[in-house]
Symmetry: C2
Subunit: 341 residues, 2 copies
């Protein structure tokens, strides 16, 4: 919103981060989505539900997924209100996934705050997650589109299958980049691409545009996850809210490690087998792991991959109509990887 | 099926348990449902999924919920195949709920066998449960009925809300019979009633029949859960696969205890507060709890309640057309509580 004395609005908007500009452009819609989220996470008889959910939903997440749904609908000229329900749907699915992830990962911290399973217990995280899945299901049914339901059902299955695959593949040194990609698609890209696609579907956009929306969602989701993997070894704990090397300590075969394992000498392979495969870690192992990643420049290669996926996302946008929101999505694809530099 | 030398088929069928007679009547359909369950629980890349699921699905459960869907559809003259998908759907939802329940309850045994969270880990139970929810969602979308989706979305929310409510209400001595009933509706009756209702909806049955199917599903679900509560204190561990007094040790305010608390003297209330409210249990407490239940005859009163709900179920059937399946459902309602005598 422009207010007197704000100076040149255009200059100001250029200085904003892309998701802040998207948020400003879609602010009326996002207010409606946030109101819907608060209404639907209420429970008349089980106060634990809004307590746990509010802890996550109000924790200052960027609401990236619901914004993508709203952006896709806006870009395709949608003028109804089902986009708000679908935006709340994807945020609920995302929040439910986080709750279950924290139980699975036995995490103690998310977004710089203690996790729900630490503040309450695993039971609350499992059951409130289930409740949010059910609530998201009710919201999407209200949109009365079988195609939307089909997209979100398939995305849910891809997400869940990816999570299980990750669990078994994570400590197995045979996990290669192809399996990694499949896990990542499930873990991140599936919900991003579904969030975009349903926005186009309710707008009754032409098929090539719906496909472009899916493609745009798929690629930065992957770029985002690869960036996350990198930041786990390179990030600033204060800024990211994560501890350096968490993935290593949790024996996760993320992309920088997979690339190092692929080039490992016999001794180095034994090191990875002991620390990741067997989980017998000792003091100095994280430093040794970082040294091996430096030796093969796998953090650089991981950054290159993230950038390549971000470029694919921008490419997908060319099938969509010229629109200020399209420009913001293009900037957003760049921004996902810009945090890496 | 009648084979030569089997003697009087009618006599034989009368001697069978009602769910065995239902299973025999619906056997071709149930074979199709079982094949569908096996196909849909497969996962190309994550073998952990069919491993965990098979442990539960093949464990010899009675498949009561899918049978209810098939029975409702048959009773209403349905001749398509969507009933098979919906039957597999409710079994997947049920199985997913069991997987999450075992994590929440920290159970070690179910149906006389070690639970999945003990054989594998909590992660597998949480994530494979999520996968089955997603699979069930895909199956129901394939039936292309928004009303069916609406019923199952609402049932899912009632189930999840009931589970959370149970978690917070279970050890709170203020939990009365009304709250208990609400928890039980979520825990058991919601899926039974939805299983029946969707069978009628895909058969395009008249509204009064759809309502009767819902009512029939609601009541024995409650009778069944009340019977379960009773058997936890009175059952035969070898037959039920449960240990006597599990609910007491897990500090669950089930109906026999709620009735005893409602009539407790000051000293007795202090006993319940210590053992259930605070969970500070010692040797001899289970015996003392059983003595208090005997003093107030709460096990008898609980049995009366179960019988009253079973009678309500039979009553609901009167709105449905005369049919051999209707007779079996009537017997089934009686059988749910017959195990109590």
């Amino acid at each position: 919103m422009s207010t007197p004395g704000n100076g040149n609005v255009m200059d100001q908007s250029l200085a904003q981060k892309p998701h802040d500009r998207l948020a400003a452009t879609l602010s009326a819609k996002m207010d409606a989505v946030n109101a819907l989220i608060r209404t639907r996470m209420a429970s008349q008889h089980a106060p634990r539900i809004p307590e746990v959910t509010a802890h996550l939903v109000e924790a200052g997440g960027k609401r990236l997924r619901p914004m993508l749904t709203l952006a896709a609908a806006r870009l395709c000229g949608y003028e109804g209100s089902h986009d708000e329900k679908l935006a709340a749907t994807v945020e609920f699915i995302h929040t439910a996934t986080l709750l279950h992830d924290d139980v699975v990962d036995e995490s103690g911290q998310r977004r710089g705050r203690p996790t729900a399973n630490l503040l309450w217990d695993n039971k609350s995280s499992v059951l409130v997650g289930d409740y949010l899945f059910a609530r998201s299901f009710q919201l999407m049914v209200e949109c009365e589109s079988l195609r939307v339901l089909d997209i979100l059902a398939n995305a849910s299955a891809t997400i869940a299958e990816g999570e299980v695959l990750q669990m078994t593949a994570a400590t197995d040194l045979k996990t290669d980049e192809a399996i990694y990609l499949q896990v990542v698609r499930g873990k991140t890209a599936a919900l991003f691409s579904a969030a975009m696609e349903v926005g186009g579907v309710i707008a009754a956009a032409p098929e090539d545009q719906v496909q472009a929306l899916f493609d745009y969602g798929d690629a930065p989701g992957i770029a985002f996850q690869i960036a996350d993997d990198l930041l786990d070894y390179q990030g600033d704990a204060a800024a990211t809210g994560k501890n350096i090397g968490d993935d290593f300590r949790e024996r996760k075969l993320t992309l920088p490690v997979i690339k190092a394992v692929a080039q490992a000498t016999e001794d180095e392979r034994a090191f990875w087998e002991r620390t990741i495969g067997k989980g017998r870690q000792q003091d100095g192992d994280l430093e040794q792991a970082l040294a091996l990643m430096a030796k093969y420049k796998t953090l650089d290669a991981t950054r290159d991959d993230a950038n390549a996926w971000a470029a694919k996302a921008k490419q997908a946008l060319s099938a969509l109509p010229a629109h200020p929101v399209r420009d913001m999505l293009e900037d957003l694809a760049g921004y996902v990887v810009a945090r890496l530099t």
